[in-house]
Amino acid sequence: MSKKLLSGPYIVWMVGFTLIPLALIVFYGLTDKAGAFTLENIMAIAQPERLNALLRSLKLSLVSTAICLVLAYPLAMILKSLKVGRGSFIVFIFILPMWMNFLLRTMAWQTLLDHNGVINNILRFFNLPELKIINTQAAIIFGMVYNFLPFMVLPIYNVLVKIGDDTVEAARDLGANSVQTFFRVILPLSMPGVISGITMVFVPALTTFVISDLLGGGMILLIGNVIEQEFTFTTNWNLGSGLSLVLMVFILISMAILAKYDKEGEGAAF
């Protein structure tokens, strides 16, 4: 049928600009500058400074994902419980910051948290002890949670609103109290949303180099910073590609773990 031809441009584009570039990363990652096969670029992750950056990235992204989840789930529950007309406006308010430029949002936190920033000025005014948070890992977590929170709220909210009132009522009717109803019915039914929320927060948090750059003062290196520098400063593409491959392995592992819990594959943010 000729109708299938309609997807021709798509296939060409995706092969040309997604699959071939990815293949190139694999190629560069597994060769040296002369083009000979080597595992050196991969093994380079074992160097202490890079290994530390990777571990730090894992730690910070796990912590921020956990914080986002803990903050977002109750928020999504509350948003669901609002009456429809007013609810949609309030939901709108809570995802609005998502549409603001990512860098400006991060810059905003820099302004707030700086030694001479807004928060410290207010604290100083009331003679309270100052906050020494900028250029620490805590500041990076702040930035991650702030930037990625809406990405956690939205998928969870979308799944929660699809759970019918009658399903919840059926659980109550069969003798479950509100706590049992939550853990046996609502939470399991909302897992697809939770999973997709975790993916949408964890992956960008794990790979970011902007937040650590702006809120960590360039002193706290994450794996994203290490890779970015290989491409923009030292221009060792082979090494950078090798490290990217390592990073991709971690993303794939986390996705595989999450996919096990998301059998239905229903979780979608949009």
């Binding site: 019918g164 009658d166 399903t167 009522e169 059926a170 659980a171 109550r172 009717d173 069969l174 003798g175 479950a176 109290n177 049992q180 046996r184 019915v185 399991p188 039914l189 897992m191």
Partner: protein, 357 residues
């Protein structure tokens, strides 16, 4: 005979300034199949949800077995509900769905397994334990919803239009199935529907509701044969509802013609509503009956012919096994005991013939 198991006293409920139930009193006996029947928005589902504990009445009390349960949460009530859209838990298989209530109560695994087997057998779905909810047809899901409710051995089963989503044939089969189930379980069923045929087929008692009021309560025969007002007559089956004048006991005037009837106690020269079922209108040769008319429409319905007869300026609906072609001159006769006299409604609230389905 049977003591009353559930009692509603003066129950009122208002949603968004609309009064859905107004001072409703209702008593449901043990082991009764009671049907709440009425058009959508009549308050029948709200009544059921108040009994189930999903809505709190604004005023009034709900008693179960003499105990006040008005404020009790749904999980604290000894009754279970079969929901309109089944409300099965899609993340669990069939066995897990059925076991839900029993697990909450902390029953032993062997007890639960036995119960699941028993319940699946009862609803004719043996061997479905491991199936997923999505793999079941609507009728099967309905049976599982019933099984899930009855394993908890409720004293009362509440059913909210459970057959509404099924096709006609399946609906008829399920009606017999439900009667069988009720007899086997020996518990009370409270059934909500807008389908008068369902109500007539299954119920011990029918409660006809409209606009938050009970219009009539009685056995299916009572409701069908002796509707108390025009709404009930119109809602249950087809009927001719005619403005009449009660001249005296046992004599009513319609279209200027006097008809003998069997009703008494309406006073003299009182305007009344007269109900005559279409199958009770007899068509005779011209001049042999009480009122002359002409056949204006004719449809063959299988069991009978449905005709419309223009007589006295009124379109009479007539069901008959004999056929009178359109244009035939006929004479209408009605036996006195087939004429049902009803008081004219006093207030607008009571009238409410607006059946908006």
């Amino acid at each position: 005979m049977n003591p009353s198991l559930i009692r509603l006293e003066g129950v009122s409920k208002t949603f968004d300034n609309t009064k859905v139930l107004d001072e409703l009193d209702l008593s449901i006996k043990e082991n009764e199949f009671m049907t709440l029947l009425g058009p959508s928005g009549c308050g029948k589902t709200t009544t059921l949800r108040i009994i189930g504990g999903f809505e709190k009445p604004d005023t009034g009390k709900v008693y179960f077995d003499g105990k006040d349960i008005t404020g009790a949460a749904p999980n604290k009530r000894p009754l279970n509900t079969v929901f309109q859209k089944y409300a099965l838990f899609s993340h669990m298989n069939i066995a897990e769905n059925i076991a839900f209530g029993l697990k909450i109560k902390g029953k032993s695994k062997s007890y639960i397994d036995d119960k699941i087997k028993y319940a699946l057998k009862l609803v004719n779905l043996d061997g479905f334990e491991k199936r997923s909810v999505a793999s079941l047809s609507g009728g099967q899901q309905q049976r599982i919803a019933i099984a899930r409710a009855i394993v908890n051995e409720p004293k009362v089963l509440l059913l909210d239009e459970p057959l509404g989503a099924l096709d006609l044939k399946l609906r008829q089969d399920m009606q017999y199935e439900l009667i069988r189930l009720k007899n086997e379980l020996g518990i009370t069923f409270v059934y909500v529907t807008h389908d008068q045929e369902e109500a007539l087929t299954m119920s011990d008692t029918i409660v006809v509701m409209n606009q938050g009021y009970i219009q009539q309560m009685g056995t299916p025969e009572d409701i069908y044969n002796e509707p108390e007002n025009a709404f009930v007559a119109d809602f249950i089956g087809d009927s001719n509802i005619i403005d009449g004048l009660m001249l005296k006991d046992e004599l009513v005037e319609m279209f200027g013609v006097r008809f003998p009837c069997v009703d008494k106690g309406f006073g003299t020269n009182q305007p009344v509503d007269v109900v005559i079922r279409p199958e009770d209108v007899e068509l005779l040769e011209p001049g042999k009956g009480s009122l002359e008319g002409v056949v204006s429409h004719l449809i063959f319905k299988g069991v009978h012919y449905e005709m419309e007869v223009m007589a006295g300026g009124f379109e009479w609906l007539v069901h008959s096994t004999s056929c009178f072609p359109v244009g035939t001159n006929v004479s209408i006769h009605v036996d006195p005991f087939n004429i049902q006299i009803m008081k004219k409604p006093e207030s607008e609230d009571e009238e409410a013939v607006g059946v908006n389905e």
